[in-house]
């Protein structure tokens, strides 16, 4: 690898974009592959698998021993609403390896006492997300039920291609939400990507159980997600 290639790789990583550095173990020659790059054949398949799993490893391809080092941004979870479910979600998300952030402008909810261990912002989502934009390695869960708080970040998450977008609320609540977001310019195809009612269907009843169902659904979306080609098609 040379310095030019290393700089390119570090730029991708700093921008929270997935990349694979391929090294030929015979001579150390390197090649950088970005998610969504067109790659065919056995190498293309190996690259696709590596992006999906996030796992680095050696591959024998056409007589060459190649090392695929996968650099995937660490997954983030942005939760809108400093509610009871979010409190239960905070320790679970941490154990599962997510970097969790809670945003809620209602200062009665967003207190350090209720959320000691996560990044907490007692501000409007539009203000927080301006400085820390959403991306394809971020999951967004909107848990307030309040359109004034939830609608903006839901639309922003769909536009940013977040790997998971979920919203709490009954089917009736969600139908009204879809109507509002459609007026805001989002398409049916985009709105179909919102997981609502939120969480895998495990008949969760308590806030803690809904947190389990939601986290499981987020993990499923992360591990089964499409490659960026599919995501950028949606964004187009």
């Amino acid at each position: 690898m040379d310095l030019v290639l290393l700089k390119e790789l570090n730029a991708e990583r700093a921008a929270r974009r997935a990349a694979i550095l391929i090294t030929d173990t015979a001579d150390g020659a390197g090649q950088l592959v970005r998610e969504g790059d067109e790659m065919s054949g056995a190498l293309g398949e190996a690259i696709g698998r590596a992006f999906r799993s996030g796992k680095s490893g050696l591959a024998e391809i056409e007589g060459r021993e190649l090392f695929l080092n996968v650099h995937v941004p660490p997954p983030r979870l942005v939760v809108i609403g400093a509610v009871h479910i979010s409190q239960a979600l905070a320790p679970m998300a941490k154990i599962a390896g997510f970097d969790m952030m809670v945003i809620d402008p209602r200062t009665a909810f967003a207190t350090e006492e209720r959320f000691a261990e996560v990044a907490l912002h007692a501000e409007w989502p539009e203000d927080v997300l301006k400085n820390q934009p959403l991306d394809a390695y971020t999951a967004l869960a909107a848990l307030t039920h309040d359109p004034k708080i939830d609608d903006y970040p839901l639309a922003a998450a769909l536009r940013a291609g977040c790997f998971y977008v979920g919203a709490l609320g009954s089917r009736r609540t969600h139908a009204k939400r879809v109507d509002r977001l459609k007026e805001g310019g989002l398409s049916d195809a985009e709105l179909d990507l919102i997981h609502a009612p939120i969480g895998l269907d495990i008949a969760a009843a308590s806030p803690a159980e809904i947190a389990v169902a939601t986290l499981a659904q987020i993990i499923e979306a992360l591990r089964k997600r499409e490659l960026a080609g599919g995501l950028s098609m949606r964004a187009a």
Partner: protein, 112 residues
């Protein structure tokens, strides 16, 4: 990008490698390419080394770093990459081993 991001962390080996090389130092990068058994650091873990033996990162829990650094200084001189293998059972090739019972393959290359 906010300053707390992992990739801008000044302990990130690849960021350190870029900074060192850009500052005119000769640098080698060691990468764990394969592991068997209970290896201490996962595949893809990296250690960067300069020609004076300064290093950042890790390829094991401290068991084989010394040997990797020695090899890396050679690699910086010759420019020829090497694949090193470490394991408890492998007594002839290397004097150092992994106390955890695992085995690892470490690739060492010069940053050009």
């Amino acid at each position: 990008m906010d300053a707390s991001s992992a990739t801008t962390d000044n302990l990130d080996p690849l960021q350190v490698a870029e900074t060192w090389k850009s500052g005119g130092r000769d640098v080698a990068i060691a990468t764990v390419m394969e592991t068997w058994g209970s290896a201490p650091r996962p595949t893809g873990s990296q250690l960067v080394i300069d020609s004076a033996g300064n290093f950042h990162g890790s390829v094991s829990g401290g068991c084989v770093e010394g040997a990797v650094i020695t090899e890396a200084v050679d690699v910086i001189e010759t420019g020829e990459p090497r694949m090193l293998e470490f394991g408890v059972a492998d007594e002839t090739a290397w004097r150092v081993g992994l106390s955890c019972g695992g085995r690892i393959k470490v690739f060492v290359e010069r940053l050009g």
